[in-house]
Symmetry: C2
Subunit: 209 residues, 2 copies
């Protein structure tokens, strides 16, 4: 079946964000990618901004749904990291995180775009938060670190790394390797349970005084 014009424009908006960046999107460039007439952007969405906003949410909804089962299957921090690496590789190829990153960059200065990108980002954050909460339950990490905040930091860092990869692939590779090593350390910390709890409690007391 052939996608209708509305769907074609949503997909084309994401594709154009990915290949041309936020500075290169226009009603004309999106319509050309979709293979439809330029005026249809305004007929269906009213303005380019509104098309971009809907496209961001559309893309995130689609991708998050595709990963939901894999998030649900994660039972350890190490498995979550593995899923993160796989997700990075797959989404990089598909270009969905790249499109989201361009929307976020655009949302910095466009008040109409900011809320829509937040909604798309929150879909990822919600999934991540739920998984982190499950995996970290009963560990020192859950005791001392706000899991919702950690999910937000992770998602933001993910976007930052994606952007970094776009301008320095080698540097980003080294960054990802270091993060994997770091996660191994944290997993080891998690295994140490009670001893770590005692030490960290002492540290927190000192830090607060």
């Amino acid at each position: 079946m052939v996608a209708d014009t509305r769907s074609k424009l949503l997909d084309a908006a994401l594709e154009t964000l990915r290949t041309q960046g936020i500075a290169g999107v226009s009603a004309r460039s999106i319509a050309a990618t979709a293979g439809v007439n330029q005026a249809l952007v305004f007929y269906h969405f009213g303005s380019v901004d509104q098309l971009l906003a809907q496209a961001g949410l559309h893309g995130s909804t689609q991708r998050v749904a595709a990963y939901r089962e894999r998030f649900a299957a994660v039972t350890s921090l190490r498995e979550l990291l593995e899923l993160g690496r796989a997700l990075h590789a797959e989404e990089r190829k598909a270009g969905n995180v790249a499109a989201l990153a361009q929307l976020i960059a655009g949302g910095q200065t466009d008040p109409k775009l900011a809320p829509a990108t937040t909604d798309g980002l929150n879909l990822w954050i919600g999934e991540l938060e739920q998984t982190l909460g499950r995996v970290l339950a009963g560990t020192p990490l859950a005791e001392f670190v706000d899991v919702a905040g950690l999910a937000r930091a992770t998602a933001a860092a993910f976007v930052g790394l994606e952007l970094y990869e776009g301008v320095d692939a080698d540097g980003a590779g080294r960054a990802f390797d270091a993060l994997e090593q770091l996660t191994t350390l944290v997993a080891a910390l998690d295994d140490m349970g009670p001893l770590v709890r005692r030490t960290v409690r002492g540290r927190l007391r000192r830090a607060q005084s």
Copy 2:
């Protein structure tokens, strides 16, 4: 003393990146911010792209120099985190990280912009790498994690958090709080020295098999 036109354009390029985003920069908008004629962009820099590239390096050079002494004074992970928070607050107000983030977003699709933004980013990374190496020397972190990679991951995450803050300030606040808690955990880990080393070595062996 009044800045010459060249300097005014470099500063105005950063200011315009910050307030209008990469999608809103043009020879006209930059020249208007600088209070000079639009044609001077091409006279002094040849093209808007080349002005942006030079402005990015210019801004980073300036800001990194302003922080060099404070980086050098850091002697612990906790102090480095404190400097990170201060740096975030100060640069957010000045808008320099925001400008760099917009350049990175633009560099994804503009091959002329990518190398220049990498250069600017590398100034920060170099400073961070040196400080991390000094602070982590002799700790388990330095033993198990590539410090250069960690510096790159940190810088990329910093940019991601800055962008996140631009579309969801509340969410970013929670993310920063969680990272502070996480750093306290890592600092505690660092204090535990030999015990952690043994545990982590065992874990790494298991992970590789």
